[in-house]
Subunit: 136 residues, 2 copies
Amino acid sequence: MPVTPADVKAVIENYVKAWGSDDRALLLSLFAVDATWEDPVGTDAHVGPEGVGKFWDFAHEGDSRTLTPKPIRIVACANEGILNFTMEVRSNDGRQGMDLEVTDHFVINDEGKIQTARAFWDESSFSQPDGLEPLG
Amino acid sequence: MPVTPADVKAVIENYVKAWGSDDRALLLSLFAVDATWEDPVGTDAHVGPEGVGKFWDFAHEGDSRTLTPKPIRIVACANEGILNFTMEVRSNDGRQGMDLEVTDHFVINDEGKIQTARAFWDESSFSQPDGLEPLG
């Protein structure tokens, strides 16, 4: 049975929670075993929980960074959803940082798992937060 | 040859211009002959210039409304693009109105035309502008 827009919103809220609480296991649990994740769109997809996990580790640069998503808007249409958010990337010592504005598009399968995730951002999506140095 | 992100941005800017200047012919010229347009995602697609034109007429309710898109962010990735915007819908007498926040996703074909357009919005995307009555 197809999922509902309410189901889609719940998955997206858990996706935000996983990043914001540094919960790698929660993030991986949201993806289908054959999920694909393009980040950004136009690059090779990460596939399945193994690919998603590797991308998580890459983004955290060996646990030296925190990534906190600040949601701007969540929209659900049938079994698809959009998450507009700013990803606040910070070094663990709090001295360096970068903000990245992202539009994520998700397709949720009948089991309530993310089947495809596609992140839209380009060179215009970056900004340097006041008072922080650029990420090294 | 695939289009570039700069081409994608130019198409999206023309899309905004067509709505904002009430230019139906310009809008139609941006779509492929076999384009599909879902608005919102999850409903039946409008197909080709004929379908797009009918949807334009429906949205303008027989020329009794103006629809002005206020872009928030345009992103281009390879031959795809995202337009986050607020559509300001107003009655021609200026007394009634509604704002609708939309995330549009476009795929641009090798000829630089919109192949697919998909508009994401739901019941949480509407707001009532100050000082205006609800649309009749």
